[in-house]
Subunit: 574 residues, 2 copies
């Protein structure tokens, strides 16, 4: 398009028109950008009149000569030229779209979902899908270059009662029987390791019938990977390599250093989260020693008193502090209250608990927490787990408020040594934190018999900017440990066999040591795209009720279809 | 491994052992091949004894020094060297596999399916999966280089009563409603064209709940493609480019010329098939004029008398000819009988209908059919469609018998101008041969009103070696023609709206001219692999009853799962 004077032919959609009387300018949009068409009343009045009849989103073909624009648009790659049109064809007229096809549209969420095919014309969504395409391609190139094979695993598999709910698929040919859609290819990739495919990957759809939260989809995509004859370090370094490659090829960002690592236990202590956002500091400080036994009963009776330092926030007004207090008191956070200490520029301290603590006390807090003049200390107290969770939310909230979470800055962190088990109060037994095939750490084998809750697993997550983008583990391949695991998880031998028999059986025929991980592909795309929601990185997503409102799915099916499937629908009145 | 003298470490599975008393040799298999380990009773008796305890399929690690082999195995890439082992570790013992892990195994189909994870260790299957991986990667690279975007379309969509049966997925959150698994992303890729993504592709799983034939799978993979602002010629040349690229990069085969093309009508006339195998000639010759009205009532009463020339087959014995006759009379073929004419080397003719035809008559047949001395003419007669079908089968059978179908020779053919509609006797109306959005040829528009059955479509298939590897069409994007199509197909306006409303609605907002095609990925892999069955190009296929016998799916699900889905199973006694 830069070749002024060339004869060109262009097809696309009418973005908008600018009618100046003597001239009419029409912007045409295609996948590659916007181009201005120029029509002149003097030189070609018929064509100019014709161009005035073009409506928004008409599909047209224009032929003409490239010319330099008198008023150049530097923001647009083709903004320095225009086409002096000599021939115009309407390929297809268009109804007026129900919202504007602009970077910032006037369409609401519901309307945009219903007319997704129009929403997808907008640049932000187009750029998201192009990013997704590139990420898939670069992932495949990188892993293939590393001798990984992409192997497709089946979608019609077997339902297992463990974990989240399966979507099931009735089998017509086997009446009364059902397939399940995979929640992940976990067992199949482990079987492939048994089969000798020592480096496997797949970019694959997975399915979970969960009650949907704002940013969950019933179908989602994983980069699923597994390696044999490796240790945890090999896996981590291989996939750190993949992520670095993606950052370099898609964002032009180089990570010269190894990604930092932190133990799960330390993450919880410092950030109250297993996926801390380390773009900013504000680490938790335990104020128990300094704040307890000074007559403030709320702190005295608390299991833990935690503080964070919000840099430069001593200027917060009363109103802002009240708003913060209200924010932590909301049921989603559930704190009883919020204590603050302003570190004034003059070296004095102003606190909501001045009554109980002297200036010296508060100075000790500030010194311990590393707060400087101008900073604000925020303190929560209560039970350990609960307070950590609340403080994690408050920390992220403050990070956002203070502009410390730049979506263009990326801070990866490997979170290591996840607990193997978590105790479930309701069922009174241990559950596998990852899955029952996750390997405990060798040095914790003894604890399996004494304190199972303290056993750490060879399990790791990659968090970037507070988002869990992937995770995995080394798998058990020793049957004695596997058997002990099933005992701990409360399985009888028969139950273990019924549920995981085919995999355990396969392990009997020569299983290599193996492990792997999976990345959330939708999540990785949205992270790279600098957005929090995955929805606009999926071409045709479902809404929060799991519906595709554009095609109106799910929907009732024909009675003959049901009969063929040997099914009756039995909707209970509620 | 060629570096003699180097210290190496190797992991893998024990393939077999060769115990010579003073020495023990163990072959170890990994993904990359076989390596011989050498153990010597003199230099290391303990280790040698240890190696004698290794069973087949044990997972081991061996360390040692690479040495030149005294007896080299030229067939194996690592066959010229061996490893003098200094350290041996058993990583995992293995049960004896139920069949041998060799290129030619002693395991039956059923057993191999049940122990698929062991079958996948065999070289032929491993090579198939590596071929599949490479084909996927090369397809993606090629299409991406041509500005195609891979865009994922949803798996949980809406059931449509048209076409083959859908697999359905009950929605727990929307009781009584169902998703369907896609038979193809057809409507979504057309929506993407409306959205302006003018070059789309996807390697994607599709699902069809059909009664399975030997070589159909309920889930299969497509290379699905669509382009906007193009004509048929653009699509054909683009994807001919893809196929050529795959042949070159995966098979080292160059196709300098354009792929030949043939009209559907001509294919049917010459080969009785819309996917002729043109690796060999044996085209149909219409013998009506020459063979009728000579007193042979079977030919006289036939709509058509068709002959093919089997080169060099005049030597067929009486027994061979009887076997051929039996073959065409089997119910699968259904011919009444088979007439033959041997073109003897001495210029005479010997025929099963000598009684009715003179030597001159038979010479005329031979001249017309292009048969030479030594050839065998085979003749079938009857109704046109039926006889063509039978002759097609006979032709392929003879091609195979005469060794004319070399799996290493590849002959592509574009089959063009498929009929738009086919008349269904049962329902007394026309059905779309492809789908209701396929565009008729411009020059046949008039025929839509007069002789709809004669209207040709802008639809094309790619056949290679008698296998339909892909097909597609230009889609309708004019609403008047679309409306006429629905009339012809017997849709009321309301029905058309209910079934295809969302797509027709999208077309109202500016649809570009578009078209595309889809390749059967499993089929393309098996063709490149030189095999007729797709099953061993799929890691975990289903058997002919749609079962995965390894994991035992489908299977009954829990009553609580059914209740959550508002479903009752109602299996009728039969």
């Amino acid at each position: 398009m830069t070749h002024v004077g060339e004869e060109v032919s262009l097809v696309g959609w009418v973005q908008n028109s600018n009618d100046l009387g003597g001239m009419n300018f029409v912007n045409v949009r295609d996948r590659y950008g916007l181009t201005q068409l120029a029509f002149n009343m003097e030189s070609n009045p018929d064509l100019c009149e014709q161009s005035r009849k073009l409506g928004r989103e008409f599909v047209i073909q224009a032929k003409g000569k490239v010319a330099e624009r008198s008023s150049k648009n530097k923001k647009n790659p083709t903004g320095e030229v225009e086409i002096i049109v000599s021939e115009l064809t309407i390929l297809k007229e268009a109804k007026l779209p129900p919202f504007t096809i602009e970077d910032e549209t006037d369409g609401g969420d519901e309307l945009r979902m219903q007319y997704r095919f129009l929403d997808l014309r907008r640049n932000p969504l187009k750029n998201n899908l192009i990013l997704r395409h590139k990420m898939g391609l670069e992932t495949r190139k990188f892993l293939s270059d590393q001798e990984f094979l992409e192997i497709e695993t089946p979608y019609l598999i077997k339902s297992t009662p463990e974990g989240a709910r399966d979507f099931v698929v009735p089998s017509r040919m086997n009446p009364g029987e059902f397939y399940a859609l995979p929640q992940s290819p976990q067992t199949f990739k482990q079987l492939l390791m048994v089969s000798g495919y020592d480096r496997y990957f797949q970019i694959v759809k997975c399915f979970r019938d969960e009650d949907l939260r704002a940013d969950r989809q019933p179908e989602f995509t994983q980069i699923d990977c597994e390696m044999a004859f490796v240790e945890q370090e090999d896996i981590i370094m291989t996939f750190e390599g993949l992520i670095k490659h993606l950052f370099k090829s898609l964002k032009g960002k180089e990570f010269a250093e190894q990604f930092p690592r932190m133990d799960y236990a330390e993450c919880m202590e410092r950030y109250g989260s297993d996926k801390p956002d380390i773009r900013f500091d504000m680490q938790f400080k335990n104020l128990n020693t300094l704040a307890q036994n000074k007559g403030f009963s709320i702190f005295d009776s608390a299991e833990v008193v935690l503080g964070i330092v919000a840099p430069g926030a001593a200027t917060y007004s009363r109103k802002q502090l009240d708003a913060l207090t209200d924010w932590v008191r909301r049921p989603q956070i559930g704190a009883q209250g919020l204590v603050y200490v302003k570190c004034n520029e003059d070296g004095s301290f102003k606190s909501s608990v001045d009554k109980f603590y002297s200036q010296e006390d508060l100075k000790a807090w500030a010194d311990f927490a590393g707060a400087n003049a101008g900073d604000l200390i925020l303190v929560l107290s209560g039970g350990l787990d609960k307070t950590r969770k609340q403080m994690n939310e408050l920390r992220l909230h403050m990070g956002t408020e203070l502009g410390l979470r730049d979506p263009k800055v990326f801070k990866p962190l490997w979170v290591m040594d996840f607990p193997l088990l978590e105790f479930d109060e309701e069922s009174g037994r241990y559950h596998a934190m990852h899955h029952p095939f996750t390997s405990p750490k060798k040095e914790d084998f003894e604890l399996l018999n004494t304190e199972p809750g303290k056993v750490r697993a060879n399990a790791y997550d990659l968090a970037i900017n507070g988002v869990e983008v992937g995770g995995g583990s080394i798998r058990i391949h020793d049957s004695a440990i596997q058997s002990r695991m099933f005992d701990l998880l409360g399985f009888t031998k028969e139950e273990a066999q019924a549920q995981f028999g085919f995999l355990m059986n396969a392990f009997e025929y020569g299983a290599p040591p193996h492990g792997g991980l999976a990345f959330g592909f939708d999540r990785l795309c949205s992270l790279f795209g600098g957005q929090e929601s995955i929805r606009d990185f999926i071409a045709f997503p479902k809404n929060n009720s799991g519906r595709d409102v554009m095609i109106d799915a799910p929907s009732p099916i024909d009675i003959t279809q049901l009969t063929e499937l040997s099914l009756n629908v039995d909707v209970k009145e509620s």
